[in-house]
């Protein structure tokens, strides 16, 4: 795995910093950070599959939605305890994703993206009409049991989950499997030529990605307390996830986190000055400028600055 002491120090500092936040910032900021943590988990989950293997998935909200709806239906309609409904939601997401999306992994490039987009759109159309007694139709399901109350508890839960997901993804990407996934993204034929089963590798990446999406979606649903098709299967959810990854830096662990925090905070900081939809225009403009300046995202900008700083010192 090639783990070095500075890795532990950096992770330790990062974790300590995140857990100290409630002492440093107000509750309003913590609420914003909770949303950023969930978006970061969605973004990491997307990046595990798409950022590494190059298979761009437009169907991620579908996976997040399955996790959310499974736990929502189980807890509200069948009285399952949350402790049971969330693990089931993760399994259902992985299974549901496998059945519906895995066959699409045999298709490449933009065709794969379009198939996944079609699956998400199909889900958006189906949820309100298929068994609305279970899904709540277009109004969704309200009064989901809350896991925590208050900004601080919600923050600790969200940041704990995000750090666990980030650490797991980071460790995974330092294994040989992680390296092979990278290689698929660069040249799938070569990986296959070297005797590795790319189908198995992609399936594995997909399962991990779906598991994280389902888990994050389930916790997110309980945080929101209500789920509606528009909040999960909407194209805007997909855009947010992809923009977070691209702005932060695809193919990294910290990149999607930075991207998610940047996006969510920028919009909230703009709110008092531009309370209407104009803030989305400004935010889009800033994101575009960053992407044009450095297509590999904020992570690459930071790394470049760090390299220049070290070069100047030496």
């Amino acid at each position: 795995m090639n783990l070095r002491p500075h890795h532990f120090i950096l992770w330790g500092l990062f974790i300590a910093g995140m857990f100290l936040m409630p002492e440093l910032v107000g509750k309003g900021t913590l609420r914003t950070m909770i949303f950023a943590c969930y978006l970061a988990m969605f973004a990491i989950s997307w990046d595990i599959l798409s950022g590494r293997t190059g298979y761009i998935s437009f169907g991620h909200p579908f996976l997040i939605g399955i996790g959310a709806y499974t736990t929502g239906i189980l807890t509200r309609r069948y009285g399952f305890p949350v402790e049971a409904s969330i693990p089931i939601a993760v399994l259902v997401t992985m299974a549901g994703g496998l059945i519906v999306l895995l066959p699409a992994l045999r298709i490449k490039g933009s065709y794969f993206a379009l198939v996944t987009l079609a699956v998400m759109e199909l889900m958006y159309q189906l949820v309100p009409v298929v068994r609305p007694d279970l899904t709540g139709g277009t109004r969704g399901i309200s009064r989901l049991p809350a896991l925590t109350r208050g900004a601080e508890n919600g923050y600790y839960l969200a940041v704990g989950l995000m750090l666990a997901v980030a650490l797991m993804a980071w460790l995974l990407m330092r294994t040989r499997v992680g390296t092979a996934l990278w290689a698929i993204g660069m040249n799938e034929e070569s990986v296959r030529g070297s005797g590795l089963s790319t189908t198995r590798l992609k399936s594995f990446a997909f399962l991990v990605s779906a598991g994280v999406a389902g888990m994050a979606g389930a916790f997110y649903a309980h945080y929101l307390g209500t789920i509606t098709p528009r909040a999960f299967f909407d194209i805007n959810v997909l855009f947010q996830i992809i923009v977070a990854v691209l702005i932060g830096g695809a193919g990294t662990i910290v990149g999607p986190i930075i991207g998610a925090f940047f996006m969510v905070f920028l919009l909230e900081w703009l709110r008092p000055y531009l309370p209407g939809q104009e803030r989305f225009f400004v935010y889009g403009l800033i994101a575009l400028v960053i992407y044009m300046y450095q297509p590999r995202g904020i992570m690459a900008i930071v790394e470049g600055a760090w390299t220049r700083l070290r070069g100047a010192r030496s």
């Binding site: 609420r31 949303f35 277009t138 109350r149 528009r230 909040a231 909230e268 989305f280």
Partner: protein
């Protein structure tokens, strides 16, 4: 030294001034880019201006901050959190649509901030008040809930569509939204058994639909006598295409765009003959002197759309005054139960020509409405039985004429014009 003292004194003075000014904070939650959202916002702004001019609430000035939802559910949750945690508002006034309100309701239950919804009419929220009166104590909805709206609309179906026009079957064209689903369900359940009108088919369409020709063809093929449309998003599109295509069957229902005076302009003058259910007051609705003054003041203050506030603008104006009156009685907004109890007692009666015309009041917790046989705690008071002596009806039906005029066609007690079918249908 003198300079430093001056700075310190100046800072202290400005701090004190800020403290004195930061009194009662009201938060608006809703869309800042829709006519409905702006109606609530402006109604609240006008009420606050008047209250402040009269000395504020218990001598404290009232300020307003807004949080845009963009009619998005998640943005709605963020907006409520922003108002609660960052702005620390005392009271929230909402112009949110159904699923956006449902999205932030868990936050309201958590923060326990007194909140008034002026647009959403979802009966499920009133059911939540019944099931969970403790955490829903701060919530009030001062529009008649959709069950009451639909109940009176069924009367329109029986009295006008069936008895007067002789129509016996309907095809429903409903948009794919929470609102569309709810109204469709209520109308479908009641039109047949109560009004004796058979529902031939329900056609659901996406809110992004721009070409309604195939949908209207399908509606015609159903063989129904008339179309019932349910549309709250981009409603002017379906209306104008109906007129331009001269669809040879009458169309009525719920068309939110037709509730505003801009409807005629938005449809390019191609909106005649559309009739819609409307909460009160609507366009074409005769106003009592107090409501007319509100509209006159509104038009003097704002020169952008909506030219006349939608019903929720009136709800916000009177509702905010009632919320402040309740807070005065309860000693502020801090004691939510006391405020809630005081809010329930609020009752504004507006008369026109010596007759009760509009009433802004709430149903008692255990008070059973006779027609529907159920309770409506924390919901706007309405009357489903003519001659509407207890309160105004839950809704009226308005119709845009082919020359651009608009008037109320039902119920007769509030009617200003007759219901007509389009000239090309005759």
């Amino acid at each position: 030294m003198t300079f430093k003292c001056g700075i310190v004194t100046g800072l202290a003075a400005s701090l004190l001034a800020t403290t004195a000014m930061a009194d009662i904070k009201v938060g608006f939650i809703g869309s800042l880019s829709s006519d409905t959202g702006l109606s609530t916002l402006r109604g609240a702004e006008m009420a606050i201006e008047e209250l402040n001019a009269a000395g504020g609430m218990n001598g404290e000035q009232i300020t307003l901050v807004s949080a845009d939802t963009g009619e998005d559910v998640t943005e709605g949750v963020k907006a409520y959190e922003y108002l609660a945690e960052t702005e620390e508002v005392d009271f929230v006034i909402s112009g949110s649509i159904d699923d956006v309100s449902l999205g932030w309701l868990p936050r309201m239950q958590e923060y326990q901030i007194p909140t008034l919804d002026t647009w959403t009419s979802y009966i499920g929220i009133i059911d939540m008040v019944i099931e969970d009166p403790e955490t829903m104590a701060p919530y009030f909805m001062n529009i008649a809930s959709d069950e009451a709206l639909a109940t009176l609309y069924i009367n329109f179906g029986a009295d006008v569509l069936k008895a007067q026009m002789g129509w016996e079957s309907v095809v429903i064209l409903a948009e794919d939204t929470a609102f569309g689903e709810a109204i469709t369900g209520l109308v479908t359940d009641a039109l047949g058994p109560v009004a004796g009108i058979e529902v031939k088919e329900i056609i659901t369409y996406d809110i992004g639909t721009v070409d309604f020709a195939p949908i209207f063809s399908k509606a015609q093929a159903s063989g129904a006598d008339f179309i019932y449309q349910v549309s709250s998003v981009n409603s002017q599109v379906i209306s104008s295409q109906y007129v331009k295509l001269q669809v040879p069957m009458a169309m009525t229902g719920v068309n939110v765009s037709a509730l505003g005076l801009e409807y005629w302009e938005d449809t390019g003058g191609a909106g005649g003959s559309i009739s819609t259910l409307s909460p009160i007051p609507s366009v074409g609705f005769e106003l009592d002197p107090a409501s007319q003054k509100f509209v006159d003041d509104y038009q003097a203050k704002y020169d952008t759309r909506p030219k006349i506030p939608h019903f929720n603008g009136f709800n916000a104006y009177w509702g905010l005054k009632q919320a402040m009156a309740a807070a005065e009685e309860a000693g502020g907004f801090g004691d939510v139960k006391a405020w809630s109890a005081a809010m329930k007692k609020q009752d504004i009666t507006l008369e026109k020509d010596g007759k009760l015309w509009l009433r802004y009041a709430f149903w008692g917790d255990d008070e059973v409405e006779e027609v529907t046989g159920r309770t409506y705690p924390h919901n706007a008071r309405f009357d489903l039985t003519a001659p509407y002596e207890d309160a105004q009806p839950s809704m009226v039906v308005v119709q845009w004429k082919e020359n651009g005029d608009v008037g109320v066609v039902y119920p007769p007690e509030y009617a200003t014009t007759e219901f007509e079918v389009p000239s090309w249908v005759k």
